[in-house]
């Protein structure tokens, strides 16, 4: 570490003259740092302003397209109703993500123990993945008496596959020489799994987890749409359905905004988690010069 930062620090202190190419590179890096935040923010503000202008200028009726002001208003006014719904959706999403992680990693470890098991069962994982959840969901809600359990199963089906397939790949991609080394020192199967194969699989698993985070939200929402009726604790999807029946378009928009924000927060949290776990050693998390 010190070996790398020391020359950089010295160079900064002494400031030797830069050639034109390096100076341009430095300037571009500075602009990039600002632009990374400023550009998306500017586009976002422009989009919202354009939307507001369009709605005002053409006097679009709010039951067809509400302006951002009305959506914001709905968000605040309906907050007492949207917040509990958000919590329900969040509960299903996170619950499904946890089960998908346990199930995906568990199955991957099982597959890694035996090629036969993998050959026998992997096709079923693929079938579950490629069959749209929206066509299985009604059956699930018939077979499973509890609505919460049904929702969890649907979201799990959507979310577990990327974790399973990535972790399986990661477990099988441990360095060949390191495997020989473990064999040479008489490592048990469990030791090889714990000290070699699981750490090798970590970057792959985290990649799968990032995808699964978004998918579990989608799975939860789709399942809520199918499950329909309220009853105990209905989620955001049901609020959207309900609002559409009443032509309460601003509330629909408000719920959609909440769902998108939730997805962004989930993705960002998982990205941070991934970065924290890999930053010391993995190529993907290391910044380089040049």
């Amino acid at each position: 570490m010190t070996a790398e930062t020391e020359p950089a620090r010295l160079a900064a202190a002494a400031l030797p003259p830069l050639d034109a190419v390096e100076a341009a590179k430095l300037r571009r890096a500075k602009i990039d740092r600002v632009a990374r935040w400023a550009l998306p923010a500017a586009v976002m503000i422009a989009t919202i302003a354009g939307w507001q202008w369009y709605v005002d200028a053409y006097q679009v009726p709010h039951y067809i397209l509400p302006g951002p002001d009305r959506v914001a208003e709905a968000l605040v006014r309906d907050w007492p109703m949207l917040w509990p719904a958000l919590l329900v959706t969040l509960q299903i999403t996170l619950g499904a993500l946890v089960i998908a992680t346990i199930g995906g990693v568990g199955l991957a470890v099982l597959f890694a123990q035996s090629k036969w098991v993998e050959m026998s069962f992997f096709p079923y994982a693929v079938i579950l993945q490629v069959t749209p959840v929206i066509v299985i969901a009604p059956l699930i809600f018939i077979y499973v008496p509890s609505k919460i359990v049904g929702l969890l199963i649907c979201a799990w089906i959507v979310a577990f596959f990327p974790i399973l397939s990535n972790t399986t790949m990661g477990l099988n991609s441990a360095d060949h020489n390191l495997r020989n080394l473990f064999q040479l020192y008489g490592a048990s199967r469990w030791q090889t799994l714990w000290h070699l194969r699981l750490p090798s699989a970590l970057p792959y698993f985290l990649g799968g987890l990032k995808i699964a985070g978004g998918l579990s939200l989608i799975g939860a929402i789709v399942a809520e749409f199918v499950a329909g009726t309220g009853g105990l604790g209905s989620g955001l999807a049901f609020k959207i359905l309900e609002a559409s029946y009443r032509l309460n378009i601003p509330r629909m928009f408000a719920a959609i905004v909440l769902i998108s924000l939730t997805g962004i927060v989930i993705f960002a949290s998982l990205s941070i988690l991934s970065h924290l776990m890999l930053r010391r050693w993995h190529e993907s998390a290391i910044k380089r010069d040049g």
Binding site: L178, L181, Q183, L184, Y185, G186, Q191
Partner: protein, 269 residues
């Protein structure tokens, strides 16, 4: 599984391991080794020298127990029959470090796999790191080290178990020449100091003459031993040995033997 040991009483001071008529045929019908017999004696620094495809790495892997002979026997005279723990270490061509673990954890690995905690193993791990001059890098990660330093860590990991036999499979082939010379010198110094037995696979005539006191020359298709040369130059060897007549004479001898072996091969094909 790894060996068939013979009952032996008189040879305990002699060979550490012997190959008797070892043949290895791969499932794709390649004959990697044919009828190879070789005894590695206690304290020797043996180089297996040959062109690629001569089976030198295969022979090393068979000795390590990473591969099994198709025919012939591997004998560990100093051990009881059926004993599977041969007290050997292996250094690969790549450093083969775990990127997620610190230098300390990488060197600790062989002891950890035998159930020694980091705390209990600390003195031995640090001792091994001192041997290769990396005691200050225990908490670094492999990616923070240069190629030569990574190879030193790899050597420290091999030494931490104090092995009876050190097997090295072209360990310095991927390094630049300056680093390779330095590691050659360090390896010789450690070997003289601790007196292990080393089997060193290389395709460099110069490296094999510089390091070893015995060179086993192998030829390809099928892999076999064609010459067994003694390098009787005294140790310690240093930079002056690299430029001496004795050195160049031995290099010529080894080179000629290697050429002869490859000439046979050209005639055969």
């Amino acid at each position: 599984m790894k060996s068939v040991s013979l009952q032996s009483t008189s040879e305990t001071a002699g060979p550490v391991v012997s190959l008797h008529n070892v043949t290895k045929t791969f499932s794709n019908a390649t004959v990697a080794l044919k009828d190879m017999s070789l005894s590695i004696r206690q304290g020797e620094f043996v180089s297996l020298l040959g062109p690629s495809g001569c089976g030198k790495s295969t022979a090393l892997r068979i000795v390590a127990g990473l591969s099994s002979p198709s025919a012939g026997r591997l004998v560990w005279p100093g051990e009881r029959p059926g004993e599977s723990d041969h007290d050997i270490s292996f250094v690969f061509q790549e450093p083969t470090l775990m990127p997620w673990a610190t230098v300390f954890a990488n060197v600790h690995l062989p002891l950890k796999l035998k159930g020694e905690s980091a705390r209990a193993a600390r003195p031995r791990v640090m001792e091994a790191l001192e041997m290769v001059g990396l005691e200050g890098f225990a908490e670094s990660y492999p990616r923070e080290l240069s190629g030569g330093m990574k190879m030193r860590v790899s050597i420290a990991r091999a030494l931490v178990t104090k092995p009876k036999l050190l097997l090295m499979d072209e360990p310095f082939a991927a390094l630049d020449e300056i680093t390779r010379f330095r590691l050659n010198n360090d390896l010789l110094r450690l070997w003289e100091e601790f007196g292990w037995t080393v089997v060193f696979v290389t395709h460099s005539v110069f490296e094999s003459v510089y390091l070893s006191n015995r060179i086993v020359i192998m030829a390809a298709r099928p892999g076999r031993v064609v010459a067994d040369l003694a390098v009787d130059a005294p140790y310690p060897r240093g930079e002056e040995f690299r430029t001496s007549h004795l050195y160049s004479d031995h290099c010529r001898l080894a080179s000629d033997a290697l050429q002869a072996a490859m000439g046979d091969e050209a005639a055969n094909t």
